[in-house]
Symmetry: C2
Subunit: 474 residues, 2 copies
């Protein structure tokens, strides 16, 4: 706690602010006794089935997450990939101590009707400064699911406007939409991929196909689902097979678009993650994505790249789709998590007139984002990610050579890395042992695991303790 | 701006903090020249069709919203009913100046897995201290739409668990849900009401039936929609007719539940607002809601009261459903807006295991909520609302007597009041004239208008300028 107060002292200099822990430090097994007490307390109020442990965020710092039992862990989980530059970054604390910023926190506006005077400037300096190629328009939202939900709506509206040409909606459109019926509520679809995760609200959930636990018991839409390539590793040994696998998936996409049009449920848009994250860290080649983008264009479908998990730099570029090397990578790019605010960029044609809600984001999150972007630039974090990512992937590859029956398919881009474990039991055991050694990892998928993070000490921390460099899932 | 800095001075006393503007002060027509410049700037980045004007939130205070052209308006709009205790309330500014709170702002956790140590206490002191009757469990969410989406999912899961008895999901359940098909994604429905507004994400939107502009072009679910009572005013003159109207609507609800069950799309839950807000301020009697709650119980449907707009005190009670006088008013109560965090309370039986997302709310909003609740208690704001609301409704009733061809159907509960205007043109003209006199009102529905607010000066401000006391919609 003491360290915290430094940031509010007027005599504190940047040197004072810039300390970091030098490694993990474990006092108990995790969850420790204090976490267990709090778990009981919260269990009376909420479902606590997914809680790992309780945190002391005041004491957490940089890459290190401190729990209520004073265990200090190297955090490769980063709050489900939503902490962009570590805990209590001095730049963000400094922002909080500036009285000029206080009003932004205490007066949350309805941004769509009464934005603050500095809103155009702040959006220009933050989100527009990292806009994907070909995009000059952006709409903020409060979270990733809301971003995708509204991106889908924008695609549906765009598609129906195309169908209507310059005509205004008919009286039948207007009256039927009020009672959920076509043509006002049309039978349009979004094409998604097996293994995809785009969120858990009902529109998003219809395009999520990662785990049954998310989808079971919730009504859904009959929309087309294409296979996502299942690449074989190491890539250099399976060039031909992987090429064929990607071609097969692309062919299936075209087939589905034709079939669903014939069924009277035309595909208004295609949604895809540059790396399927929650579905088990599945990668595809830049060629695959370039071809897919062309298929979307050819069939008149909007192309929506969901960068909620991949955006913000963890692949070594700010947006994962930059690895595809395209001038016109997408019609819509959605984001949230490490961007701190949700939202989406879009082409001019997908003008979302009629996209609206009460808050439409939160300017206090934009304020943090602006500072995060400054830090990323000032500290060359994209280069650091590339550098750390290489060390991480090299380490994972060495490990799989060392333990061939246990580890396989080491893969990654930047620090967005993963490795597969032979079975659930082994994976869970590695995960728990690793955590008790002070490394918080993430379980992503059945017999698959992933590591992701983003900080300058990553190479050192992981390189220095490579025996604990794995991660493993339920 | 100068006033703002006071709150960060250590010598400032509560007397210094507690100033308020004494009335509107208009310098230009609205939007003024600065707003118009900013509108052009933002127009290059976003759709700006719904923007009224740009605000100076630093200068805004209490009930008064100050725009960039230095116009100071009495704000009866309160950011679409989402500002609970006015602008820059000293209690909230004080919270921001406490260094112990800073970590909560800069380290947003994934609440469902790694909550902060003080989370159980903060939730107990804030949300649980105002829990609806019969409810001890609450789940936070980031916004109103996410709250309702997840409440719907909780009802679907609850309903399917009932159907399965103690059995675990079948292999067919598991495999079909991954491809959006029944029985894994079952054909269940939510019954909603014409005129309802429950949000704009795709699940919520299927239960929203207020305006076609929200729904047009977005695929939906074939779910039952019941009529909401259309009461005649003044109530005391139409007791018999209104009773019949409510009975008709209740009968229709039961018919729909039976019909949809026969169609193979059973009603898992009924969702309703205690006052239909966005749909034109439609009220019904406590008897209506009590009967509806019983119908839900009788047919095994969950009963979801959506208090996103009505919750937080503007009806004179903290929850609008308290006016029904029931010990067991609902199975789920959702909230957002004036509560600052989204979320929902629920009965034990609707245990939302499997309800999850990255952020699950935002502890920094809980921090504000705790302080807002303190202010509401300390300043007796619920009493103030009742008192101000009576003055407001009395004034509206006097006005409709004075202008019988123009104004009608004055109605309200607390300060949640509305009056109808004869036609759109008159309504729009009154709205603009009122704004230029320094009163920011809200347009809610075609030929309907609403006023809502919540502050101690309301009576004086409106009572003192009753010629401008109306409001009016697009």
């Amino acid at each position: 706690m003491t360290a915290m107060y430094l940031y509010f002292s007027k005599t504190a200099t940047s040197t004072h602010l810039d300390f970091d822990y030098d490694g993990p430090s474990m006092k108990t097994t995790v969850p420790g006794p204090h976490s267990q007490d709090l778990l009981k307390q919260l269990g009376d109020i909420q479902n606590v089935g997914a809680i790992n442990f309780f945190c002391n965020y005041e004491k957490s710092r940089g890459n290190y997450l401190v729990d209520v039992d004073d265990n200090r862990m190297l955090d490769l989980y980063t709050q489900i990939s939503s902490i962009p530059i570590g805990y209590n970054h001095p730049a963000l604390l400094k922002l909080m101590s500036n009285p000029n910023n206080m009003s932004t926190f205490v007066n949350r506006p309805a941004l769509g009707i009464l934005p603050p005077h500095n809103f155009p400037d702040k959006i220009t300096q933050s989100l527009l400064s990292v806009a994907p190629s070909g995009m000059t328009r952006v709409q903020t939202m409060a979270c990733g699911s809301c971003s995708n939900e509204n991106a889908y709506k924008a695609m549906f509206i765009w598609y129906r406007n195309k169908e209507r040409g310059k005509n205004t909606p008919s009286n039948e459109d207007i009256s039927t939409c009020m009672i959920n019926q076509a043509p006002g509520c049309p039978d349009l679809s979004i094409l998604s991929f097996m293994g995809a995760f785009h969120g858990r609200t009902m529109g998003c959930l219809a395009t999520t196909h990662s785990k049954s636990i998310h989808k079971l018991d919730v009504p859904s839409f009959d929309w087309p689902i294409a296979p996502f390539p299942r690449l074989q590793y190491p890539l250099e040994e399976f060039t031909r097979e992987n090429g064929q696998e990607e071609a097969r998936c692309l062919e299936e996409v075209e087939d589905l678009i034709v079939k669903w049009r014939q069924r009277g449920k035309p595909v208004a848009g295609i949604v895809i993650e540059p790396i399927q994250a929650e579905g088990g860290d599945n990668h595809a080649s830049p060629d695959f994505f370039r071809s897919l983008r062309n298929i979307a264009r050819k069939h008149g479908c909007a192309f929506h790249v969901d960068e909620v998990q991949t955006g913000g730099g963890s692949t070594g570029k700010f947006w994962a789709h930059e690895h595809w090397g395209m001038d016109d990578p997408a019609d819509i790019v959605s984001f949230s998590k490490k961007l701190l605010t949700g939202g989406y960029y879009h082409k001019d044609e997908l003008q979302p007139y009629r996209i609206f809600n009460t808050w439409m984001g939160d300017p206090s999150k934009n304020l943090f984002l602006l500072e995060v972007l400054n830090v990323i630039r000032r500290e060359n974090l994209l280069e650091q990610v590339t550098h750390s990512g290489k060390a991480l992937l090299d380490g994972l590859q060495e490990l799989q050579v060392q333990y061939p029956g246990i580890l396989s398919c080491a893969r990654g881009q930047g620090t967005f890395c993963a490795i597969d474990v032979c079975d659930d039991e082994t994976r869970n055991s590695i995960l728990l042992k690793t955590r008790d050694k002070g490394i918080q990892l993430i379980i992503v998928y059945f017999s698959t695991c992933v590591l992701w993070t983003w900080r300058r000490h990553l190479t050192v921390s992981l390189g220095g303790s490579s025996e604990s460099m794995g991660c493993w899932a339920p």
